[in-house]
Structure formats: structure tokens, C-alpha cells
């Protein structure tokens, strides 16, 4: 089973805790990830998603100059690079978030999303199935061969 490090995104948009909401909005509108990780000394301390920002907009009291810490989700649930994909999926099912920063040696090294993990597992299963089919066919051929030769073989050995 593949590990988180194989599918994680290494280029993560980050901002400092002291940053303004405006900077996060600009970053979100430019990148495809849909989230910004808030770091303190390269350690993830929070996360701001598009949804967090839209929620703030919906209140009608959006101030672009206020601190990002006002709307961020903190603390943030993280994964490690050596986690197996099915473990990661189990974690997602219990935590119910979509995006997870990846921490290696205490610093931010990447970002994984639920979607990436599900698609990676699906590809993995498809590959396994192809391999298993080939093994099965070889096995059947071998079995036929053995069954056809079984009696002559026994006779030959004098059993």
C-alpha cells in the first residue's frame, strides 16, 4: 500500500499568523488548493479554507484588514508522510475534514486532500486486480496440467 508521501502536494500555500484576511483571499483566488496553511516557525498551527472565508463574507461584516487568526481553524489535524493510505482514509472518516497538512520532523512538508487519497486507493485496487487476474489464469493452467497428469504420474511412481 502506498504512503501519504507519494501523493502529497509539496508546494503548499502558507501564511503567518499575523497575516491579514486579504492576503489569504488573494492566495486562495490564485491557487487551486482551496486552503491556506497558517504556520508559526514552519509548524502548521491552523488552516483557512475557502469555506471559512465565504462564511465570514456571508455575515456581511467582512473586514479585509483583520487578522487571519480570527477565521482560521486551530489547531489543525495533521498527517505524517509515512502513513499508509488506508490509515489516512480511516482518519479522514473520523475527523471529517477534507484537507490535511503533512508534518515530517515537526515541520510542514506537504498537503493531502481526501479526494487525492480516494483516487489513489482506487487506482491501487485496479492495479492489484489486474495482477491478481494474471496470477489466477496462470494458476488455472497449472491446475489443469496437474489434474491431467495426476493418474499417469501416480502410476509411474508406482503408488
Amino acid at each position: 500500500m502506498a504512503r501519504v508521501s507519494r501523493i502529497m502536494l509539496a508546494d503548499v500555500p502558507t501564511l503567518k499568523k499575523e497575516a491579514k484576511i486579504e492576503e489569504a483571499a488573494k492566495l486562495l483566488s490564485k491557487t487551486e488548493n482551496g486552503c491556506v496553511i497558517i504556520v508559526d516557525d514552519n509548524r502548521p498551527v491552523g488552516i483557512v479554507t475557502e469555506l471559512d472565508l465565504v462564511r465570514k463574507i456571508a455575515t456581511g461584516r467582512m473586514n479585509m484588514k483583520s487578522r487571519l487568526s480570527e477565521i482560521m481553524t486551530s489547531p489543525v489535524v495533521c498527517m505524517t508522510p509515512d502513513m499508509k493510505l488506508d490509515e489516512a482514509l480511516k482518519m479522514i472518516d473520523t475527523k471529517r475534514f477534507r484537507k490535511y497538512p503533512v508534518i515530517g520532523n515537526g515541520t510542514l512538508v506537504g498537503l493531502v486532500t481526501k479526494n487525492d487519497i480516494v483516487h489513489a486507493i482506487s487506482d491501487n485496487v485496479r492495479l492489484h486486480r489486474a495482477i491478481q487476474n494474471i496470477v489466477l489464469i496462470l494458476f488455472v493452467v497449472f491446475e489443469l496440467f496437474v489434474f491431467l497428469l495426476y493418474k499417469p504420474l501416480i502410476n509411474y511412481l508406482g503408488a
Binding site: S29, L53, I57, A58, N115, S122, H128, E143, F147, A159
Partner: protein, 155 residues
């Protein structure tokens, strides 16, 4: 084969192009959806995502008409799962309004596709295990049938 009509979300949240961006943001948070469909004369003409709303606030636009995204693809209820996942991966389009004739009957988002992929993967694994089990039992039976052990046990 799974088709669009089996995996779509039937409750579509729609908005008019004349609505304000604030209304759009309120609608998408209160209904917890990541995208709204813009309807004009009962026909889907565009989509508005969370990102579009954020961009609107940055550029100080206030009408849905000015921010809506016309780069979307409608699909028929009979489009297959494979076609949808292929389009998602190749064209990077993440929202598909499902249209029957001219009528909007549902929407397929990335979340729906991911859930369907999970169900599919699970189904694949169950079929795989079943085939292996059948082969295992058959092999054990044949080996026993042809072996001297059978004669020893049943005479």
C-alpha cells in the same frame, strides 16, 4: 454500470444572475454547498463556486452576473461514471449540472464523484475476494478428490 442519475445530488441550489454576491455567500453557507447553479429562464447558464465569491469580494464586484463562471459542462442523466471521472481528470472541470432535456434535475460535484469512487472500489474488492474464495474451495476439492487421501477416508 453507475450512471449520473444514480450518483447525483438531487437538491440543487440555484440563484439568479441578478442576485447579489452577499446573497450567494449566504445561500452557499446556509445550504452547505460549494457551488451554486445560476439559472436564467429555467436554464443553467453558469456556476458560482466559493472561489468565485472570494474573487468577487477582492475585486469589489457585487452582482452574481459579474462573477459567474460560464466554463462548465452539463451532462445527461445517462452519462456513465467512467466518462465523468475522465472529464474531471482531463479537463479539470469539477461541477456538472445534470440536465434532462432542458430541465435541471441534479448536480454532480467532486464530492459525489469521490463517494462513488469509494463505493466502486469497495465493490471491486468484494468481487475480487469472492472469486479468490471460489477458486480456493474448488482447488481444495479437486486436490482432495484425486488424492489417495480420499480412498483412505471413504474407502
Amino acid at each position: 454500470m453507475i450512471k449520473a442519475k444514480n450518483m447525483m445530488t438531487k437538491e440543487v441550489i440555484t440563484i439568479s444572475p441578478n442576485s447579489s454576491v452577499l446573497e450567494a455567500s449566504k445561500l452557499s453557507t446556509s445550504k452547505s454547498v460549494s457551488s451554486l447553479i445560476v439559472l436564467e429562464a429555467n436554464k443553467p447558464v453558469a456556476v458560482v463556486s466559493e472561489r468565485d465569491i472570494i474573487k468577487a469580494v477582492l475585486s469589489k464586484k457585487t452582482k452574481v452576473r459579474d462573477i459567474m463562471n460560464k466554463n462548465f459542462l452539463t451532462i445527461s442523466p445517462n452519462t456513465t461514471f467512467y466518462e465523468i471521472t475522465r472529464t474531471l481528470r482531463e479537463k479539470n472541470i469539477k461541477r456538472f449540472p445534470v440536465v434532462d432535456g432542458n430541465k435541471l434535475i441534479g448536480i454532480i460535484t467532486e464530492t459525489d464523484i469521490v463517494e462513488a469512487t469509494r463505493d466502486f472500489t469497495r465493490l471491486h474488492q468484494i468481487i475480487q475476494d469472492a472469486i479468490l474464495a471460489i477458486f480456493g474451495i474448488a482447488t481444495a476439492f479437486f486436490l482432495f478428490y484425486f488424492s489417495p487421501l480420499r480412498a483412505a477416508v471413504f474407502g
